[in-house]
């Protein structure tokens, strides 16, 4: 038992693994055979640099009775090669020089057993006169024989389908699959079937040598991208990566997409398709691009349908990110219309992402439109107008303060839309210009104090208001501001809103939690809302006169009304007051009418 025994491999089990786990489709045998052919041609080219190479795919018959062959004029195999490379699972002639060859796992030919019970291969190696025929069976056996007749240099593989694979041995299916995987291969590939002959491959990459700065070049590549992905594209950005020795194009989608759904990209490895639905080729933030790339130096997974998540792929991703960033920067400078169009299309998703990634936000911060006193215009336009710029964090505050801001000659942005408050706060740091919230401090500092004459008119109004509003933990202030039609402003900062929530919770909380709330948010530290009365307003001036009880009632109603206009939920005591004050007002009104 101390002797070491070799593993025994059940080929049927291996084929089952290929069929059900490694490859996503049985059609990959086409890719594997094309790949072997390309590698053989590459090997011959190394010995005979003038050799161009050719691959021929022939289908004789159709369906269950068909024979499909793949022939190449590559370097071919000798007897030793056949034993080692075709008949030893996991052995590859290409592992040591993976940068030149597509295959490197030694499992390519085995993929044929997914669709065929018997694989026949005829080959003659360059420089050898001996032609060989290898027949592999799906039960794990194979036969090797010398042929009397001399075969051409290279290799031909013949397959007959299993019953369940018959639909794959159809002319349309074979040519579509071969084009799908090998359409960009550098070698000419000929397909023939009963008089039909088609050629493809051997062409430059579709984006190779095309100037994307010229209208015709851009239009050509955009057309290619739209046909490839079935999406409308608004721009094409050339990709060149040193990390992965890659070239390609990043297409900007002209329809909005979700940040949370990664885009599918199309990737080729040394011009053989790896996948048309590959994710993770771009940074997460570049959700608005779809790429087609040909890489020469990324490591494929064993199934060859994606790339290993390694340092090289990470660098490639970073490079693509830098290229897209550079394009955005350049476009912002040179083509404002295109940039505006880009932002319009991807508006919400860009905003969501910008809050998470300030560096990304910096690329288009000046171009992002905000709703404010100048309408819906880019932030850069607000900044360029040279006036003070402020924002408020909700629509109600904006509605209340926009007129005041106009009168003060400042620009005000409504930050009540999703993400806007945070984006405006971030923008200040990125741009280095002051874009500050319009808060209590601002109102206190910028709204004019009453003149001596106005103070005289006000008399004891503020003291009275203080007494009345003290019960509601609100602070009255008297100022003079435009427009004079506004009698009062209610300042509701975030901390005031928080205080209202704390009070709402205290009304229903258990004693244990009231203690905890008091410890975490002591009532004495609560911010009070400001009710700023406008001494220039006719109503407020009237209230400054001797009105007795009516003044108290009017102050209470002004406060409640301001709360309702700000869409604030009323507390129990505020609701009681609303009830009482309204009825009182009605009674007074009706009483007056009766007397009249």
């Amino acid at each position: 038992m101390s002797e070491r025994d070799p593993f025994k491999v059940d080929l049927r089990g291996i084929v089952d693994v290929f069929s059900n786990h490694l490859y996503s489709s049985p059609t990959v045998f086409v890719r594997e055979l094309l790949q072997n052919a390309i590698d053989a041609i590459t090997a011959r080219h190394a010995v005979e640099p003038s050799h161009g190479g050719e691959i021929s795919i022939r289908l004789v018959g159709d369906g269950a009775g068909a024979t499909l062959s793949f022939e190449d004029d590559g370097i071919g195999l000798n007897e030793a090669d056949v034993h080692v490379f075709l008949s030893t699972i996991g052995q590859s002639s290409k592992r040591d020089s993976s940068t030149d060859f597509l295959g490197q796992f030694g499992i390519g030919i085995l993929s044929c057993f997914v669709v065929s019970d018997e694989v026949t291969l005829v080959t003659r190696k360059l420089g050898s006169s001996k032609s060989l025929r290898w027949i592999g069976h799906s039960d794990g056996t194979y036969e090797l024989a010398s042929l009397e007749a001399s075969a051409p240099i290279g290799t031909a593989v013949y397959l007959r389908p299993k019953i369940e694979s018959a639909p794959l041995f159809n002319a349309a299916k074979v040519i579509d699959t071969a084009r799908h995987f090998g359409g960009l291969l550098p070698v000419r590939i000929t397909f023939t079937h009963e008089g039909r002959r088609e050629e493809f491959g051997g062409e430059p990459l579709p984006w190779q040598g095309i100037d994307l700065k010229s209208d015709s070049g851009l239009s050509q590549v955009l057309g290619y991208g739209e046909a490839l992905f079935g999406d409308r594209m608004m721009a094409a950005i050339p990709i060149k990566s040193e990390a992965a020795d890659a070239t390609g194009v990043a297409f900007l989608l002209s329809e909005p997409r979700s940040v949370h759904v990664p885009q599918n990209h199309r990737a080729y490895l040394r011009r053989m398709l790896v996948s048309d639905s590959l994710t993770g080729l771009t940074p997460d933030w570049a959700y608005f691009v779809r790429c087609v790339v040909n890489v020469n130096d990324l490591r494929p997974t064993a199934g060859r349908e994606s790339f290993y998540e390694d340092e090289k792929l990470e660098k490639f991703r970073e490079e693509v990110g830098q290229i897209v960033r550079a394009w955005l920067e350049e476009t912002g400078r040179r083509d404002p219309d295109l940039m505006a169009q880009f932002i319009r299309i991807h508006y919400m998703a860009l905003k969501a992402l910008a809050t998470q990634d300030p560096e990304f936000y910096e690329l288009f911060v000046r171009w992002l439109p905000f709703e404010g006193t100048r309408g819906m215009i880019p932030l850069g336009d607000y900044l360029d107008c040279g006036r003070e710029l402020h924002y408020v964090s909700d629509h109600d505050a904006y509605r209340q303060l926009a007129g005041v801001a106009r009168a003060l000659g400042i620009e005000l942005i409504d930050g009540g839309f999703s993400y806007d408050t945070q984006l405006l706060s971030l923008a200040q740091e990125l741009i280095g210009r002051e874009i500050s919230p319009l808060d209590d401090n601002f109102l206190m500092q910028r709204l004019a104090d009453p003149t001596a004459e106005e103070s005289a008119i006000a008399g004891d109004f503020v003291a009275d208001a203080q007494r009345v509003l003290g019960a509601f933990r609100a602070q009255p202030i008297l100022k003079g501001f435009e427009p004079v039609t506004v009698p009062a402003l209610l300042s509701q900062s975030d901390s005031v809103a928080y205080g209202r929530q704390v009070r709402a919770s205290r009304e229903v909380a258990l004693p244990l939690f009231i203690d905890v709330l008091d410890a975490v948010s002591p009532p004495e530290t609560e911010s009070l809302p400001l009710l700023v009365f406008n001494v220039r307003n006719e109503l407020v001036r009237a209230l400054c006169g001797k009105l007795g009880e009516k003044r108290e009632l009017a102050i209470q109603l002004l406060y409640l009304h301001a709360l309702m206009l700000a869409h604030q939920p009323l507390s129990t005591s505020e609701l009681e007051l609303l009830q009482k004050a309204t009825l009182q007002l009605l009674m007074q009104g009706l009483g007056t009418a009766r007397r009249d």
Binding site: A352, T355, Q356, P358, S393, D394, Y398, R399, A402, G403, S418, Y419, T421, Q422, E429, D439, P483, T485, V486, P487, A488, A497, Y498, Q501, V502, A504, S505, R506, V508, A509, L510, L512, F513, I514, V516, L517, A519, V520, S521, P522, L539, A554, L557, L558, H561, A562, M564, L565, H567, Q568, P569, L570, T572, L575, E576, L578, Q579, T582, L585, L586
Partner: protein, 409 residues
């Protein structure tokens, strides 16, 4: 009755339409000619409007915007006196605020929900996954963060844990989360001698549907080993997190923050550098990770001065508000040390950032004494609560750059 205002004392009910009429009656006193002066959008219905805001928030990443959306949902529900919608909105807000760096707001919403539930126990579903079960889950977050506030005395914390424990027991849930919070309190109060027993007590209880996810459990177990000053065991415990085999909304970002400085001081520079490289991207703009931000700034001060001066302004707005005081302490230490570094590099006048929303930009030179004072005051408040001087000792030594880093300080 959704969409109505009901007065408490008189029992009179004022319909939403009457509310509009009331507003119109008093319009004589204010200017309604201003563009967009609006009334509540009653047409949509409180439930729909609040739920729409709740859903909108759920579509956002954790952070200020999500909190804002869910706060707005609470406001709309309350405006319409719709307790059911208010309950749903607050549950969403508790989660957003807890995961988005505003635990005080989470506490406020939780106190409301629990109070409503106890006042109207039949109104809220008691089944698995129902309102109350969700509340029991969220109770863990509340106790966790509350223990990190110096204003909460030991006895008050014990009362909270007792209340939570009773509610779990009443519903037949495992006390594992309760014991875990006792462990957390011991770590946060720097009661190191109590940690081994608390770990054993926690792990003795079986898991059930209210237990934390595996990633969080692994993270806390690793934190406990750090609190016991055993880095090798802590690393061993955290291996599934470092190997990317487990993760959740907060883990491994929190884990990376816990390990960065202990690894660095143990001389594992490669691993520390790997974590330091990943932490900023993981933190993003979510102040829930203020502790990780603090450790990062300290690490950069010691290993990459230029980057430290770039990172400090990025997080300075988190030092004095939001999250829990214990979590902010680390960032204060980091910013004090970054400010001193800036002065040494002749950049003391450079902007550190806006420390409080209502204030102008502060320079490193201006910020340093203020943050130093705040950190010391906070540490003293913790010591007063904890009944020993361990937080103050640790904070002062870290401020001077002479301390040894464990967890939480």
């Amino acid at each position: 009755m959704p969409g109505s205002l009901s007065t408490v004392q008189t029992g009179l009910t004022v319909s939403v339409y009457a509310e509009r009429a009331l507003i119109l009656q008093v319009c004589w006193i204010v200017d309604l000619s201003a563009r967009g002066v609006g009334l509540p959008s009653h047409g949509m219905g409180a439930e729909n409007e609040a739920d729409q805001l709740i859903d909108e928030g759920y579509g956002m990443a954790y952070g200020a915007d999500r909190i804002r959306a869910h706060s707005e949902a609470v406001r709309v529900a309350d405006l319409h006196q719709d307790v059911e919608a208010g309950f749903r909105a607050r549950q969403a807000l508790i989660q957003s605020a807890n995961m988005g760096g505003d635990p005080n707001l989470a506490l406020v919403a939780f106190a409301w929900c629990l109070g409503q539930h106890d006042a109207n126990p039949d109104r809220f579903s008691l089944e698995e996954g129902g309102h109350f079960t969700n509340l029991l889950w969220m109770y863990k977050w509340i106790v966790e963060r509350t223990s990190e506030h110096p204003g909460i005395s030991r006895s008050k914390l014990a009362d909270l844990i007792d209340d939570m424990s009773q509610r779990y027991r009443d519903r037949g849930f495992s006390l594992r989360p309760v014991r875990k919070l006792q462990l957390w309190s011991s770590m946060n109060m720097l009661d190191r001698e109590k940690v081994p027993g608390a770990v054993a007590d926690w792990l003795r209880h079986g898991r059930d549907s209210l237990s934390d996810c595996m990633a969080c459990d692994v993270d806390w177990e690793a934190a406990a080993h750090l609190a016991m000053r055993d880095l090798p065991l802590a690393r061993q415990a955290a291996a599934p997190l470092f190997e990317n085999r487990m993760r959740c909304a907060e883990v491994p970002t929190l884990t990376y923050g816990r390990f960065l400085l202990p690894l660095s001081q143990a001389g594992d520079n490669a691993e520390a550098e790997r974590l330091a490289h990943q932490i900023p991207r993981r933190i993003g703009t979510n102040r829930d990770f203020v502790q990780a931000a603090g450790t990062l700034v300290v690490y950069l001060v010691e290993h990459n001065p230029r980057e430290a001066l770039r990172a400090a302004p990025r997080y300075s707005a988190w030092a004095l508000t939001g999250e829990t005081p214990l979590r902010r302490l680390l960032l204060m230490i980091g910013l004090v040390r970054a400010s001193r570094l800036a002065r040494e590099m002749g950049k003391g006048g450079d902007p550190l950032g806006i420390l409080l929303p209502s204030e102008p930009v502060t320079s490193f030179d201006e910020g340093e004494p203020r943050l130093y004072r705040e950190a010391c005051n906070l540490a003293d408040a913790f010591d007063k609560r904890n009944g020993h001087s361990r937080v103050g000792d640790a904070v002062r030594s870290h401020l001077e750059g002479t301390g040894t880093w464990w967890w939480p300080l």
